[in-house]
């Protein structure tokens, strides 16, 4: 099995999709000649041609809306938005059209399409390049939202998204693009949408996270394990629809939950997980669910970003509070 980074695993999935299904079309700003700003679409245009791997004008609403039309007409568009921070001009298309067409036509017209976008901070990028507004997409009806944290899931979730009969947003954690390598099967496979993964079993405490925050969450878990605390770690992998069963089962079994997101806190996925746990596992809880989150602020630039994005230290501190409660 080849070793891949997240970026390579995504690239591999796109190669497979374009190779196996002539209806697949990749489009976005700089995805062709330049191979994408993170090189996720590298080599695709050379191999599959400029008609199937299409450089577009700088117009996100146009990209999403054109992809939507392509999808209705029976193609399988995979649109890239260059950063989550540049996805908002296309958001109206997502909420008003992409997520609605099946319902408003009672399945007569459907938009099986994929929108990929890098998201999240932690690399000291320029303004708007560190956004983490996945809550807004998870709150939007009619679309699914997935977010891999590692190369295996990146390939499997992207392929699952491409196969899905409904529109799927694939959030790609910038910080994880090249940070982790692992063996990933060369052939096609899918990671089912809607299934969280218990990446580590434990009995004292559950940590729940996704995307780039998984790494910090796992280091925090390591740190606590060294102290003799048995930590269960859940990688949500899909944010919409959320896997309530896995969340609830783990919360019930440990009685202590720390949920970690880098987004603003109010009405975040952390809030949702806390609400679910409070709803269905209240009587098992030994301590309040701890939300370790970004703040309700704009992601600070490089020199102060570390005050915003949770780190292992903050996760450990929160875990300790649940253990001492």
């Amino acid at each position: 099995m080849p070793e891949m980074t997240v970026a390579l695993a995504l690239n591999d999935a796109l190669h497979i999709a374009l190779r196996d299904d002539p209806a697949t079309v990749v489009l976005g700003e700089d995805v062709g000649k330049a191979g994408g700003v993170f090189r996720v679409t590298d080599g695709l245009q050379q191999r599959f041609g400029a008609d199937r791997v299409v450089d577009t004008p700088v117009a996100e609403s146009g990209i999403v809306g054109a992809a939507f039309g392509l999808a209705i007409a029976g193609l399988k568009p995979i649109a890239e938005l260059q950063f989550m921070g540049f996805s908002y001009p296309g958001y109206d298309q997502v909420i008003s059209h992409v997520g609605r067409i099946r319902n408003r036509s009672r399945s007569r017209f459907t938009a099986p399409m994929v929108i990929r976008m890098p998201y999240g901070g932690g690399i000291g990028a320029a303004e708007h390049h560190s956004e983490s507004t996945e809550a807004m997409y998870a709150h939007t009806p009619g679309i699914k939202v997935v977010v891999p944290s590692r190369p295996y899931d990146a390939k499997g979730l992207l392929l699952a998204a491409i196969e899905d009969p409904d529109p799927v947003i694939v959030l790609e954690p910038i910080r994880a693009y090249r940070a982790i390598k692992e063996d990933v099967p060369a052939e096609r496979f899918a990671v089912p949408i809607g299934e969280a993964s218990v990446v580590r079993e434990g009995s004292d405490l559950t940590m729940i996270s996704y995307g780039a925050m998984m790494r910090d969450t796992l280091s925090a878990a390591d740190y606590l394990e060294d102290d003799g605390v048995s930590v269960e770690v859940v990688d949500l992998r899909t944010l919409s629809p959320l896997d309530h069963e896995t969340i609830v089962a783990s919360a019930k079994s440990t009685g202590r939950v720390v949920v970690v997101v880098e987004s603003p806190r109010t009405a975040s996925l952390a809030s949702e997980v806390a609400a679910i746990v409070g709803e269905r596992a209240l009587y098992s809880l030994l301590a309040p669910v701890e939300r370790v989150t970004g703040h309700d602020i704009v992601v600070p630039l490089k020199r102060a970003e570390r005050h915003h994005i949770p780190d292992a230290g903050r996760i450990v501190a929160a875990a300790r509070r649940t253990l001492e409660a």
Binding site: S61, G65, G69, I72, S96, H97, I101, N103, D166, L242
Partner: protein, 346 residues
Amino acid sequence: MEQRCILDPEGNLISEAPVGLDETERLFDAMLTARLYDRKCSAMQRQGRLATYAPYEGQEAAQIGSAAALRPGDWMAGTYRDAAAMWMHGYPFVNLLLFRMGDERGGCPPEDVFILPPSITVGGHMIHAVGLAWASLIKGDDRVAITYFGDGATSEGDFHEAMNFAAVYETPTIFVCQNNQYAISMSREGQTRSATIAGKADAYGMPGVLVDGNDVLAMLAVTTEAVDRARSGGGPTLIEAFTYRAGPHTTTDDPLRYRPAEEVDEWSHRDPIVRVRRYLQHNGRWDHDREQTVLDGVAAAIEAAVAEAEATDPYTAIEVFEAMYAEPTPVLKAQRDALLRDQGSA
């Protein structure tokens, strides 16, 4: 820019007709049908049988003439005010009515009808017609896509992005702007300072055509040219149909707040149906009884559709969850079950 015109308001041909009298009669009948349907809807809205309705009276030629230029299988993406075009291209009355009654099943026309449910948001749907048409290029079929929108819609950023994408990829898209002089209360002059809307096509390197939108023959002619060009690889066209909304923006609107009654009166002399009636009459193809017979037939068809729509049972709670995804997600199933439980217990 000159307005293309073939049939003047007096019913005289001022240039060559694109079709003969039989076909003109068909267009005339279609416009009669459209007007009857429109008035019926306004009346039903007043009776509380339809939700808000957006009448298109005055714009029948713009819609019927352009839609007549299409082939079955061509895509259409229009707005809340384009029921005449949709019907002309095959969208059943019953679906149009269901939508207006507040039932999503209205958005589900038969399988051989390639018309998206009408767009309620202004502007966002034009780019869909670009994607739909682009698919023809990629798949190598020859379907074109037509999109309808108003003068107001040209101010939205989405108009710009759609026009630009269509031109850049040379998609077979026909952009039909029905410039009916108002966007709710905003006049065309307040909307944009460009001399014409058709002229905006230049900014995209696309041909733009200004046409008398109350002249069904001119509408048919310019749209046919645009469709032919699109179908033969010549790319998109912007058509500005210069017309007028005779009625209110919707059934809740009071147009006297923003436009003088005289203006409405003036435009009534340019009614799109009257001039064809005169033309047919000049050519011995019109009599009162024939028109009445047509109208009676249409009225019966509309009544039947109304009856069918009104007989459709409203949605059940279960159905509400069924078309969000191919399969309701576990989260939706749980929400559905909780709803059923609460509706039972309340």
